[in-house]
């Protein structure tokens, strides 16, 4: 090949263009771009999740002190220029020894678990009904599920006080109908706590369930019927297993916030409905014992993390199957 002089500048600009394209490509597809895209969420999580948790962890290893902030520092320069690290496990030992904390934890677990099951039992038929409704109706029904979010959570819980109290709407109604002679004690009971939690968290159960059910291929049910399966059995063998991801997601979305719930047991619950969220609040704001409060928070975090990991393991097995 003979290189014509006129062709030189053309190849020069094309190589420049190529280099530019390569630069853009490396930013969007290459190593640099990949690192950038991945680093951003990690930096976010580090700054706003891991760091605060570490601070709380640090406080939990301190001791209460009359200072600002009200706990003993972990690292200290002693007089002889040595760095001393003080780690007190006393707060955790205290949690374990005082039956109040343990029973509050267990009660939280129980309330959250029972509420999750009730939410599932109420939410599944609702989600199913919405997913199988005519397409035009679905959006309306979903709006009705989401509608309560337009009012503040706190106001909705307060509204339940008005409904449940001795001279509240429900008792008033039952008395006037003549079903009861004495007002029922509804408020400040465990029942009220369950009611409040189920009422508040039901949408979080319905939405992920709806999402999985509406995506389901309905010809699978036709195939099941064609192969001799009655509708109820087809539901158990096809629809239910296929909606497992929605069941798991919905259960987590109800269970996790319900464990740490503070407002509902505080406003609707009685003296015996002690939940860990409320204990945490009291420890922090009434007793001003930050280290114990931090220890409670860390323990609660672990309490939530364990079922979460467990569920995730089940979910993974459910979706990937037993590949060989």
């Amino acid at each position: 090949m003979t290189a014509t002089p006129g062709a030189e500048p053309a190849s020069g600009t094309s190589s420049l263009k190529r280099r530019f394209n390569r630069g853009v490509k490396s930013l969007t597809q290459g190593r640099l771009g990949r690192v950038f895209v991945i680093a951003l969420p990690y930096a976010w999580l580090l700054l706003f999740l891991l760091l605060p948790i570490l601070i709380v962890l640090k406080i939990s290893f301190g001791e209460i002190a009359l200072a600002s902030p009200p706990y003993s520092p972990m690292l200290q320069w002693a007089a002889d220029r040595t760095l001393s690290i003080q780690i007190h496990f006393g707060n955790y030992a205290f949690l374990w020894q005082d039956p109040l904390y343990l029973s509050a934890y267990l009660n939280s677990l129980k309330v959250a678990a029972v509420s999750t099951v009730i939410c599932l039992l109420i939410g599944y038929p609702m989600a199913y009904g919405i997913a199988r409704a005519p397409a035009g109706w679905r959006i309306v029904l979903l709006m009705l599920v989401i509608l309560p979010f337009w009012t503040s959570f706190l106001i909705r819980v307060y509204a339940w006080i008005g409904l449940l109290q001795g001279n509240g709407l429900i008792n008033h109604l039952l008395l006037s109908v003549g079903l009861i002679d004495q007002p029922l004690t509804l408020l400040h009971t465990n029942f009220a706590v369950y009611l409040g939690i189920v009422y508040s968290y039901l949408p979080f159960m319905i939405l992920p369930l709806y999402a999985t059910l509406v995506r389901m291929d309905l010809t699978l049910l036709e195939a099941a019927a064609d192969l001799g399966s009655r509708p109820w059995k087809a539901f158990l063998t096809v629809t239910l297993p296929l909606s497992m991801p929605g069941i798991i997601a919905g259960s987590l979305l109800v269970f996790i916030p319900a464990i740490g719930e503070f407002v509902i047991p505080d406003l609707l619950g009685g003296p015996d409905s002690l939940m860990i969220g409320k204990v945490l609040w009291t420890e922090f704001f009434s007793n001003r014992d930050w280290p114990v409060a931090a220890a409670v928070a860390i323990a609660m975090l672990l309490l939530i993390l364990i079922p979460l990991l467990l569920f995730q393991r089940i979910g993974e097995r459910e979706t990937t199957g037993n590949r060989q």
Partner: protein, 381 residues
């Protein structure tokens, strides 16, 4: 192409007036939303062991008819009988019928084995019986080594086999196939056509297949019904449908055809003489049934039935002259589009006997085309 070796007695059952049909569809109609007739007054008899195809363009009602047979759709009117028993009102899970779905509808959360066993489990059979039958079915479709896989770990062709095995596992009296090969690529589709016919022969089950692919319907079925707008236009063997189309739609839907419109001018014994503005002379062809003079008719001629002549025939019958407008080289044959002097485009197919890049004809050549009295068929205009 799959050649079906069937017992002639079974094959020709529809010609025996005393034969009892296996499946009877009596005046079945399906109306959607009160006014849309998806299936309009369809009557059909299908005999045991047949491979019957419902052929038509999309939206012609063939799938709706199939779904009514499966019980997935309720018929608005009419009756469906299997071996004399009325199943019109039976729910799908009580019918002795299984269906292979177009999307295959395999259960994604079950293994291949579990999918095939699903129908058997509904019958409360013992575990050993189920295991044996599943093994047998997977053997039949050559999927034994994939028994533990899940549907999303299979290729399209493998899924199709599993779907077939699942629908055959319960040994249904009637198997319905909804576009069973539509999702496969061309090469695989041709191979699967063979296999499906072979499997049908081996298990002896009556198959009803819905397809929009005329080639598929022709090669695989013992008989087929051509449907349009919810009605059956013609029922017959593939060769009957191809050689003796009953009407214009069927003639044009199946294969290529040249239609010469004209009027009956007279007859000479078995020969019918037709006067057409599209041909310079008379068109003469065999026609069994006498027609009154003046009846408007169309003569249907397949492209392969036409010949290239050296000049106009001496008797001035059955010929046209025109110019080659387009040439389609297909390897084994070439198709020429000839613009006739009468303003019609006539298609003619010429076998490429010798190896050469261009045929004897080229663009703008003037050619004469002729045909025999046995080549054409008269259809109502």
């Amino acid at each position: 192409m799959p050649q079906t070796r069937r017992d002639p007695a079974v094959l020709e059952a529809w010609q025996d007036p005393d034969a009892r049909p296996f499946l009877e569809i009596r005046k079945v109609t399906k109306v959607f939303d009160g006014s849309t007739y998806a299936v309009d007054d369809v009557s059909l008899s299908i005999f045991k062991g047949e491979f019957f195809s419902l052929l038509g363009a999309s939206g012609c009602g063939k799938s709706t008819l199939l779904r009514m047979l499966a019980g997935l759709e309720r018929s608005s009117q009419g009756q469906i009988l299997i071996e004399g028993q009325d199943i019109t009102r039976l729910p799908p899970y009580e019918r002795p019928v299984n269906m292979m779905f177009q999307s295959y509808a395999l259960f994604p959360h079950m293994t291949v084995e579990q999918n095939v066993a699903f129908g058997l489990k509904q019958e409360r059979l013992s575990a050993t019986v189920i295991r044996d039958r599943v093994g047998e079915m997977l053997e039949l479709v050559h999927m034994s080594e994939y028994a533990r896989r899940r549907p999303d770990q299979l290729s399209g062709g493998q899924r199709q086999r599993v779907a077939l095995a699942r629908s055959l596992a319960k040994q249904p009296k009637l198997l319905l196939l909804d576009e069973p090969l539509a999702a496969l690529d061309r090469k695989l589709r041709e191979r699967t056509q063979f296999e499906l016919v072979n499997i049908q022969e081996r298990v002896g089950t009556t198959f009803i297949m819905v397809t929009h692919d005329q080639e598929e319907a022709m090669t695989m079925s013992s008989r087929l019904a051509v449907m349009d707008a919810g009605r059956i236009l013609q029922i017959g063997t593939p060769s009957e449908i191809y050689e003796y189309p009953g009407n214009r739609f069927v003639a044009e839907f199946i294969g290529a055809v040249n239609l010469f419109e004209g009027r009956v001018a007279g007859s000479e014994g078995d020969l019918l003489i037709i006067q057409s503005d599209a041909a310079p002379g008379e068109i003469v062809l065999y026609h069994a049934h006498p027609l009154t003079i003046g009846t408007p008719v169309a003569v249907a001629l397949r492209p392969e039935k036409l010949r290239v002549l050296n000049g106009p025939p001496a008797d001035d019958r059955n010929w046209v002259r025109g110019q080659v407008r387009e040439i389609g080289y297909l390897g084994d044959v070439s198709v020429y589009h000839v613009g006739s002097e009468q303003g019609m485009t006539v298609q003619v197919q010429v076998t490429n006997r010798a190896r050469r890049t261009a045929g004897p004809l080229t663009w703008d050549d003037t050619v004469c085309l002729g045909w025999d009295t046995e080549s054409g068929v008269v259809i109502p205009a």
